[in-house]
Symmetry: C2
């Protein structure tokens, strides 16, 4: 699979007349090599893809076991015998720059691309200061645009992440009753996943009553509202499997929801399910976004996009929004998540993770029921 | 407290002849305003400090409750009546750039500093393209160097984080016995903290037997070694309290450690405790690093630094290493963490978080015993 990814990348390098591409982004290094460092933000690994080689630069901490990857990881890093992945040791004496100088010389690199939306200003400055003979070319949204089309392995991982999330909510909803707080519900989700060796896609949004009216309510910083006899509960959460994310939002009600709530939910559910269907025939995300908004009644709208791609990160391409310039294509995995928010009253959102298949087919990967939403055991 | 931080920043701006400073880094925005967004990496908030104003730019999701912060947060954001923090709403129509254009005009900003070690290449390009009348100045390690001296509130938070970590390990060590695995121990630490509403400083390193010889063993990706009747267990972990981190490493033994282990441990413990004492009198981190290494016997050394600052991030300044250019000063909080690693055999590290006080005084904030290290209930 990784071979295919490198192939796609190299094809574009040729088109852009680049001799090499330096990858700084944590997720993109993982995508192209299967190699993952402990932290996202500390620049512990870099990748350089040239016409003939793939280099991975990392420090001694990782060098003693770069190829022992475990089931929680993605692919094992490519074996150098197979495909020229060359591990280069970063030390205090010989950092990335010195390695690059050597390779630029050896492989006669004249034009080097880099991730303009990831590389820091001072990192580029250092490269320019020490590699004076080459031209550096800033590319934006480059590998992440390659990543928007998922391969078989990625689709399997995303499917499994969604399945795990379904099972999690199945169990956690059984624990919801009057008296339980937002943070307790969030903790049950986290605990369920971690106990089984998985992780969360992000810290769950659990928003009860008035808090559900805040589109991106921060459960950790919030007032930890408790579920009451008649409550509306928004749960936006996901599971991570082999670094791939799922994203689901479900509404749960305790007691008897009001007529207004039931009507609003029906409108929202209709808009959401029809917009998912729409993905079969519409390749324009702006049009899908507008389609979904039109299905809400005139006084209902939502101050966020209708959906987004999901993969190694929770927010990827394509964006399904008014300003999107993307195209909807087979083997993309996206969310559809319209919402309704009445400030200081309540809000609702329904969200699924959906695979766009070949030939007008889609598969909703998150299968947790959207109908049996009322908890009456209270 | 935040007033003092802004005052320090403004003093340096005057020295550097800057009219304003744009802050992009998540932790630095939090440090200067008390405002925290949901994610670290999605540029959801920016801060601009000018001679007379502090601006916070963020989107609608945060605007409905920017001042409702909870106990898990740091300070409440500064009230605009008090000190001119001005919230500016970022929308698709009016992004950061348009806001900056207005403010640059209003406040007659000619020289604008930015975080060269945080701002992305394409972000700077956009600023340069749209603010053609100003000069942009890249500063590196700017706010993080201000952050190396902790104020009273920060020291209190760090102290509490260390205390929580102590209590956590006190409870978790009771659960360690032959048969328990690395991931199970890590999970117990995580669960203990999360259940009480705290968080981890980082995913714990729990390394059993041979794995303890890998300085930065990745417990999540590792082979999940189980504790045996005679095992050596390295636990490197921390708690987070109000965004402030603690950092501790302890060695635990089951059964009877070998004579070599006991001797090595004594040497290491002696080096570690004497190096902590050394912080009272030595303001040169390079010298402390060398001092600690000299106390190990000639055949024992460690392929990492002796310590680092701790605060809003787990790795801050000052660095206590051979290459450090920092100065050890009162009100810094640092780790001292020498180790010994015998490849394919076992390793040891002892680490504390230490407050450097005024007048040759220090306080070890992590107080979990370094002596009662043998678990015999097995």
């Amino acid at each position: 699979m990784i071979q295919q990814r490198i192939k796609k990348l190299r094809k574009i390098l040729v088109e852009k007349n680049l001799d090499g591409f330096l990858v700084s982004n944590f997720h993109n290094v993982l995508y192209l090599t299967g190699f993952k460092t402990l932290t996202e933000n500390e620049r512990e690994a870099w990748t350089l893809v040239t016409k003939n080689n793939i280099y991975l630069f990392t420090d001694a901490r990782y060098m003693s076991f770069p190829r022992k990857r475990e089931s929680r990881e993605m692919d094992p890093p490519i074996k150098s015998e197979d495909d020229n992945v060359k591990y280069k040791l970063i030390t205090p004496e010989k950092g990335l720059i010195k390695h690059l100088q050597e390779i630029v010389e050896e492989e006669r690199i004249n034009q080097l691309g880099f991730e303009g939306d990831d590389l820091k200003v001072n990192e580029l400055q250092k490269i320019k200061d020490h590699l004076t003979n080459i031209k550096t070319v800033s590319l934006e949204k480059f590998i992440i645009k390659i990543r928007e089309i998922k391969d078989e392995e990625e689709i399997n991982n995303l499917g499994t992440a969604c399945k795990i999330a379904d099972e999690c909510l199945e169990d956690v909803t059984k624990l919801i009753r009057p008296g339980i707080s937002e943070k307790e519900i969030a903790f049950k989700i986290e605990f369920w996943l971690k106990e089984k060796g998985y992780d969360m896609s992000f810290y769950p949004i659990v928003a009860v009553d008035k808090n559900s009216a805040i589109p991106h309510y921060d459960t950790r910083a919030g007032n930890n509202e408790k579920v009451k006899k008649n409550s509306i509960i928004l749960i936006d959460y996901g599971a991570k499997f082999k670094d791939y994310h799922s994203d689901t939002t479900r509404m749960i009600f305790t007691g008897k929801p009001s007529g207004e709530m039931i009507n609003t939910y029906q409108t929202l559910l209709n808009a959401q399910t029809q917009s998912i269907e729409r993905l079969k025939i519409d390749s324009n995300p702006v049009s899908v976004d507008q389609f979904c908004r039109r299905l809400m009644t005139t006084n209902l709208s939502y101050p966020h996009s209708t959906g987004h791609g999901v993969g190694l990160q929770i927010h990827e391409f394509p964006k399904i929004s008014f300003t999107s310039t993307d195209v909807l294509l087979p083997n993309q995995v996206v969310t559809i998540e319209p919402g309704v928010y009445f400030e200081n009253k309540w809000g609702m959102r329904i969200e699924d993770t959906v695979l766009i298949k070949e030939k007008g087919e889609i598969e909703v990967l998150t299968k947790f029921s959207k109908k049996s939403l009322i908890i009456s055991n209270c």
